[in-house]
């Protein structure tokens, strides 16, 4: 069943409402990882390894640092897996929050930054399929829409900060902008995106609960 709310399509995954007599068991990878299931850990790496590797390569200046970082991230995920609460955040949100924290700490520790060029010429099937899966996540597609609504300069500022891990000072130097301007714009745009997520979540909640 699919609901369309102001062009935002949200898939309702509860098959039981459709009268499906064999209810789908949602795999909670993280709880299996927390319980010491090696196959689940491998699935976790297969599912999110490319994403985290891609982002780590953008944050950190060389492959060795990115390699250290990604190992630390997966160890942290393993250790934190027991704290995952699907009522508070989706699996991808939980994982990317932990990954971000580690990458920011690593960046601070190493105190150097370089954007790396992609070594791949084309999108591999593996990455293509994983990107497609991510795009199907309602919250992520909402955020992508919100990001695309920003003007180009604001998108660039946010991308340099959030996606590529540059500090505000580095961004100010790169783009030849006053530091105060960079801080204000990033902050305002983050608040815009946050408010947009809240607004849509509230509308969906109200829709379901009348």
């Amino acid at each position: 069943m699919e609901l369309i709310i102001n062009n935002l399509s949200i898939k309702d995954n509860s098959d039981s409402r459709m009268g499906n007599t064999s209810p789908k068991v949602h795999e909670n990878l993280l709880s299996k990882v927390a319980n010491g299931n090696p196959e689940a850990f491998e699935k976790l790496i297969n599912k999110y390894g490319n994403l985290i590797w891609s982002i780590a390569r953008r944050y950190l200046s060389n492959q060795d640092e990115a390699e250290d970082a990604i190992q630390e991230i997966f160890v942290a995920l393993w250790q934190s897996a027991g704290r995952f609460d699907p009522n508070k955040a989706s699996e991808i949100t939980f994982i990317s929050m932990i990954a971000r924290r580690r990458l920011i700490d690593n960046l601070r520790k190493n105190n150097k930054h370089k954007v790396l060029k992609s070594i791949e010429d084309s999108l591999s099937d593996d990455v293509f399929s994983q990107k497609s899966n991510l795009e199907r996540n309602a919250e992520i597609s909402l955020v992508v829409r919100a990001l695309k609504k920003l003007d180009i300069q604001d998108q660039e500022l946010l991308s340099l900060s959030i996606y590529q891990g540059y500090s505000h000072l580095e961004i100010a130097k790169l783009l030849n902008l006053p530091l105060g301007t960079v801080k204000t714009k990033i902050r305002r745009n983050l608040m815009k995106i946050r408010d947009e997520i809240k607004r849509v979540n509230t509308r969906v909640k109200n829709y379901y609960h009348g």
Binding site: R57, E67, D68, T93, S96, Y163
Partner: protein, 269 residues
């Protein structure tokens, strides 16, 4: 705009800023103060937004084609639940080279004894920042034997519940590394609270520095925890442990549980 509205605006600004980079010490203190005043706001209020935005940018980036190399994937797989396998070394810590460094008569006996009785991982879970938690007994021993400016203090309980706690803190300003050991600490519920280490450096900082948070899952054995200072330490004079909200705080308002050395640090925690 009245005073409360202005303060809330500053709070939102600091929360948004903290989601993308580390704050200055002054901003951290101001944020901590404002969060105490307005508990309806949480420190991680923007964490979800930035995490989702990061993925959003990844999806919008046509050059984001990297595939996790299989050798790195295999190394990560090997680290899962195989702590003491000599083959499974993480980058930056090579068991073989450590042994070569340490094969001196003075060290050889202690390594032999530790191996003979069985090295075990610390039975803790904690939030690590820069360090990984593997081989902590060896790492601690290396620091003890190689740091020229090593400080070593026993813990003193500041409340009746903690008077029987045994353990030490070691720290090196030169190496910016340290470890604490604890036996008999009460087990905490990490969903409610976590222990936090504080480093008192009165020359450099007005307030004690956050040394990291940790959980205790056993009171039966000695646990080893690395100290992870959030700021560079020039001259550590004392250490303390408090019990805080999950994730820790920037400025504590909780009572001291343990201090090292015995006398109360001169700074207010």
């Amino acid at each position: 705009m009245d005073k409360k509205d202005k303060e809330k605006q500053i709070l939102m600004e600091l929360l948004a800023l903290s989601a993308v980079e580390h704050l200055s010490v002054e901003d951290e203190q101001q944020l901590a103060q404002l969060l105490l005043q307005y508990p309806e706001y949480k420190k991680d209020d923007f964490a979800k937004t930035t995490a989702l935005s990061q993925i959003g940018f990844y999806l919008m980036d046509d050059t984001a084609n990297e595939t996790l190399p299989s050798e790195i994937r295999n190394k990560i797989l090997e680290t899962y639940d195989s702590p003491l396998d000599e083959k499974n070394t993480l980058p930056g810590f090579n068991f073989t080279s450590l042994f070569k460094t340490l094969i001196k008569p003075a060290y050889a006996w202690s390594i032999t004894v530790m191996l003979a009785i069985g090295l075990s991982y610390s039975m803790i879970t904690f939030k690590t920042y820069e360090n990984n938690y593997r081989y902590l007994p060896l790492k601690r021993m290396v620091l003890k034997n190689t740091a020229k400016d090593l400080m070593n203090h026993p813990w003193y309980g500041k409340t009746s519940d903690f008077e029987t706690i045994q353990g030490h803190v070691i720290w090196s300003n030169d190496k910016q590394r340290g470890f604490i050991t604890l036996t008999g600490m009460p087990i905490n519920d990490s969903s409610l609270n976590q222990y936090q280490i504080w480093i008192v450096d009165p020359i450099k900082y007005l307030n004690p520095v956050d040394g990291g948070v940790f959980d205790i899952t056993t009171s039966e054995k000695e646990v080893i925890i690395p100290i992870n200072p959030k700021l560079p330490i020039s001259n550590a004079r004392a250490f303390a442990i408090t019990l805080e909200q999950p994730g820790g705080v920037v400025v504590s308002s909780q009572p001291l549980l343990l201090t090292a050395p015995k006398e109360r640090p001169k700074q207010k925690i």
